[in-house]
Symmetry: D3
Subunit: 285 residues, 6 copies
């Protein structure tokens, strides 16, 4: 490719750079994009680039296989209720340790390595994420939900040029830890920040009208259409909580929400900086 | 080109974006890049893109054929001394009017149109460019040189997100106007701002070791080599004052200076955002 | 005059200085005050004095004979519709060049020479004056009206101690220039700034109850009285748009508006710093 | 006088207003200017006018006859040593009460009444004036000298638009009060603030070459000339400490010092805003 | 007491320190606490401690016996109307002098001596307390009431770390002084500042259900109960205006009001930093 | 204890509160104070109290038995070289996870629970602690030393009211983790911050002149005495690196350093807020 062609591409990105200047984007980072080495590197680059062109990325990461692996190594077994892991104190201790002390730190180091400056945060830091048990699901133990987000700490770091990287661990009224679904944390953080965008990285190519046809992606759907899509089975399984998370965020004041395929290199950049996009965007209306 | 390839190119620009974040770049804008419509548009886009990725571009423009055309239409004839136009008051009035009231405003509108926010300045505004006659060249009339630059005004505008566009007109002790060489103004502004870069847009492909061979471009030369190049005729004619302007700017505290070919679309972007560059860089040492 | 008498006069001005401290005053500068050399100097001194005693003067200038003279020199003829000049592109180019590149710069130099620090602005700078064609008057070509004023740029300069001097040229949606009536620009700028005062310099001694009797000046009239004065012919001809401009400004939030005789030396100072005043003040009510 | 003549005078003051914009002037206020009602009003007006045209006046006042009168009413007698009043605790209590509770408050009310906003300060407030006994003069009791000035408090008030009015009372290491010569306090405050001017209001027409000839005023003298003038008796008696106070202030970093005749109405304004001045200026050199 | 016990006590104060961090507390200082030497010292320490642990104390002081003593020494007699002292100009002069020049200064020196930095203010300083005669009580002369408080001056000093100490002297429209009840001034200042607490130091152990039984203190009463307590004589005599002052302050936006026994050492600290408290708290409801 | 006695104690702390107002204190937290529940609570309270009375505590924590316990549970064995644990990558992963994800979070939760607001930081966050291998000790693997501290991040958090809690993990040039001695990290952080105090919590009663006599504590020693004490065996074993850490910090600009007995409840408070202190202070000289 000639230098001139490269210049042309930079210039093509200009309208998007302008559009998103100064905007806050919360990214739920998880799935393959977190386990595959080269995908991982591409995500870090996307995030740093967003910061440099004037956006304010905030990262919320999920758990991934490290937690299970560590529980296995320690011989801690888990019981399940309706497919959800019961999280007792012994389990929670390991979950928190892996999320905050390992996964979070790897992301922080990765962003730093790509030229950004990240600061990792647990929900305990500055009481960032106040949590509580999920009503009716007390049997799950220390699985919780977000009650309140301390946006002041995030904004302090963001304004000084740092990229906050948040572990989905909440703090209860008595200092106890809660394990919270990372999509839910990302949505709650985005709502609290009145973010312009919420981007959920997944391992599927967005919402497909026909599961067997990867080209049948629904690139844009409105809140009012969600129920119908669920009824007819187009949105199903693990996609349902993700779409609900988008709907909640939109109702909470977030501008736009995106469910994108983290297996595509630079998926975030593509979704943010090109018209076509590569995932499914859920919007108000 | 696929979306993925585009993303890859954006990511390739990241190291340059990081390197120049917060840096001040003074651009002398003139020649073909100012008369050719599509080149003009490309320059505007380059400048706006620089602003959006965190750089502080400051534009100094030259005169171009509009001045001569207007003098002709008005039947104002000019005498020359050693090839330099004698600028009497009647001529100066037209020169200033065309520079400040026409050319400057077209650039301002062009930058605005590309999504930036430009503010045009004459050397009179806020006593931006204090000027004086060139010693020994009083016969040239109101041709002057820079004595002093009010950087405070430039910085005020720059910090608020504006792109200053400066006409090469100076103000004398008694409020009189001076016509100043635009390269010289660009160099003086860059020195006063302690700019990181000075970029001179010309109509030649940088300094060529062999005038007949456009591939013989000298991509980098040091101050200490300049005299030798002049002696052996490699730097000659109109290139001499441009190189001298670079040398003065480097001595005045500017980081790097570039003489580039404004006839190449997006020449500025290429010089700033690629390693190879497309012109000749003059550096300290 | 003894030193003591001088001191007494300074002290007499104190109540006015106190009253207007920190207040914004938009001055439409035009007519004889712009063509007569000593009047010009007096206006510059008035403006600089206002700045030093804590007021924030903002100047909007008109065109004057320079435009017609330049059009004549260039042999550009003009057709008129209902007494208004049709402004085609060729004419607009010259109008803008003279307003921005000559008249504006003379005022800037004059203020600087009197000890202030002025910055000239066209409506294009920072998209200061967004304009559009006047509905129903498309036949006039590029004659426009103000749609929007970027007060942020004016305030940035004002806070840093500069005196903004604005040419009545607007910028359209596609970067095109519009020629706008200077009184109208002054009124729109005053409204957008929520200025405390709008002062229109004219070549008549305010509104006279009896045109033949210069002592019959109506020194104060209320919005509610305007229609009646127009009906009975006391306000007529060129005074009508000026009064309408005052009424619009008052409705737009300006505190007080003044139509004063620019042929009186230091007319602005007299109107602002003495009780009697020298023109006609239009007020709310 | 016509309105036009008034305007002309305001404009004449412009160069002085520009020159002193943002400058700090410490005024020692005492003598007839403090006892004569109309002189008092003129001083207040001068100070408020200075504030409004951008200067930062700081007032230090002296004692005057009120103290003696109150001591007399209370039957407190005083012994003298070498012409200086011995200040025991009973005397000091009354001195402080009259200075801070009566004279200071009258000046504050006077400035407020003229349109300024004054805040009275004793040397105790914020430990404004740290004082100590004068070495070798312990017999005088609580007569002290300045050791240190808390400029932060003065500057805080000045920046917020207040005019500080300071009583010449100092605070010792153990919280005890000291009676300090007001000229000395004014000089010390001016030095600490690195003031541009120190103005001492007196009851004589500056320094006269011939005491009998009021027209023989020496309008300007340099530090290096002071000793000679003392030797030959031109500077004598009560003028000696005043001149020494000026010399100390100049050595402490004050720009210029003025000894002026407070019996002339608006003496301060005349000295500051006219070339001729009305007193004797002591300068460096 | 061992060091460990001391540490324990500091830690016990932590919840109160947290609770009152950044809160404004207006203290009416008078009575025995102002005349008894060791009580005085304890009050100063309490105030300075409050400042250091992050509270913003503002002191309003009363008159005390110094005024009467000085009037006696000067042989100024006073007539009374309904038990209230008629304040003519001669009396007012002495009242102001003693309050501002003596009592205020002693408090300022005391606070400074305990390690704080106090600035004394009369109601005249910065027009802090605009006053007017009490309608229907013109016969009392210069006895006035608060019309308006300049909170900007208090806040300026408070933010910079100073402790304002206010004398209960007001300034009228014509610069005249008014003698105002100190409780009333404290209440008005607290209302204007929207203070969190108003503390009135008195010489009684709060409100007693049974005057003869000091253990019958009513530690908390609501506005709605006040009338009943007055009717049945529990609140009577000098306590009535104090309670009314509290009620007014509460209605004016103050959080809580306290009437406490200034004869108890460190009464303020005890009321603020312990649950039981030592006086009577009047609250909303 | 009566309320009055409590008040007295608070007042006794006033001089210390004043002395340390606005001062930065770095606390190395480790040993028994980190394992014993009630000691832990007392340390948290001490730190929060310091914050509330205006100090800026910064906590660096050590490792403790949790690391060894986790390594044991995972069956990771360790080889030793000269008594120092060889840290390979597998070990480092666990060390980091426990330090950052468990111990740090417990401290953060503890401080929050005592009413402060803590933010945990690893050396990776914002590249807080840039590290490198210890020259000559490469055999130890990922055991490192501090090269550079990003004080900007600590200060940003401190100014906003947060208490930084730092894990002794460093980040290398290639993003790799380093295990660093916590005393050394505390010393380096204190030096970089130019802290006023460095406090090392240990499990011994300071430096004892006679190891067998706990009353023989040397409460203060100077840098110049250290070598002698080492030579004669008074400073020996594990105390040597602690004292060297103090000496380095003092040379790096720290005001005072303290080695105190963390087994005494509220040891920090006692050392900071009482004259006697409870440990050994190492000072310059």
């Amino acid at each position: 490719m000639t230098a001139c062609e490269k210049a042309a591409i930079l210039v093509e990105a200009l309208p998007y750079i302008k559009e998103f200047y100064g905007k806050t984007v919360v990214i739920k980072y998880g799935g393959s994009a977190m386990t595959d080495c080269s995908l991982k590197k591409a995500v870090m680059e996307d995030i740093v680039l967003m910061k440099y062109v004037g956006m304010h990325p905030v990262v919320v990461h999920g758990g991934g296989p490290d937690i299970t692996r560590m529980l296995d190594r320690l011989g801690i077994s888990t019981s399940f209720v309706n497919g959800l892991r019961v999280t007792d104190e012994a389990t929670m201790e390991i979950v928190e340790m892996v999320l905050v002390g390992k996964i979070n730190k790897e992301i922080v180091a990765g962003i730093n390595d790509s030229g950004g400056s990240a600061v990792g945060l647990s929900g305990k830091d500055g009481k960032l994420i106040r949590a509580e048990p999920i009503p009716g699901k007390e049997v799950l133990g220390l699985v919780g939900r977000v009650r309140d987000v301390n946006t002041e700490l995030i904004e302090t770091l963001t304004e000084r040029g740092y990229i906050p990287v948040i572990s989905p661990v909440g703090i209860g009224d008595h200092g106890e830890s809660y394990n919270i679904n990372a999509d839910h944390v990302a949505g709650a953080v985005a709502s609290a920040l009145k973010a312009d965008k919420l981007v959920l990285l997944t391992d599927v190519p967005g919402i497909l009208a026909d599961k067997k046809d990867p080209t049948s992606r629904i690139s844009r759907l409105r809140i009012s259409e969600v129920d119908e899509y669920i009824d007819c089975g187009i949105i199903e399984g693990g996609m349902i909580p993700k779409v609900e998370c988008c709907v909640d965020a939109l109702k909470g004041g977030v501008g736009r929400t995106h469910i994108i395929d983290g297996r595509v290199p630079h998926a975030i950049l593509l979704e943010v900086f090109t018209d076509e996009g590569i995932g499914s965007m859920v919007v108000k209306g």
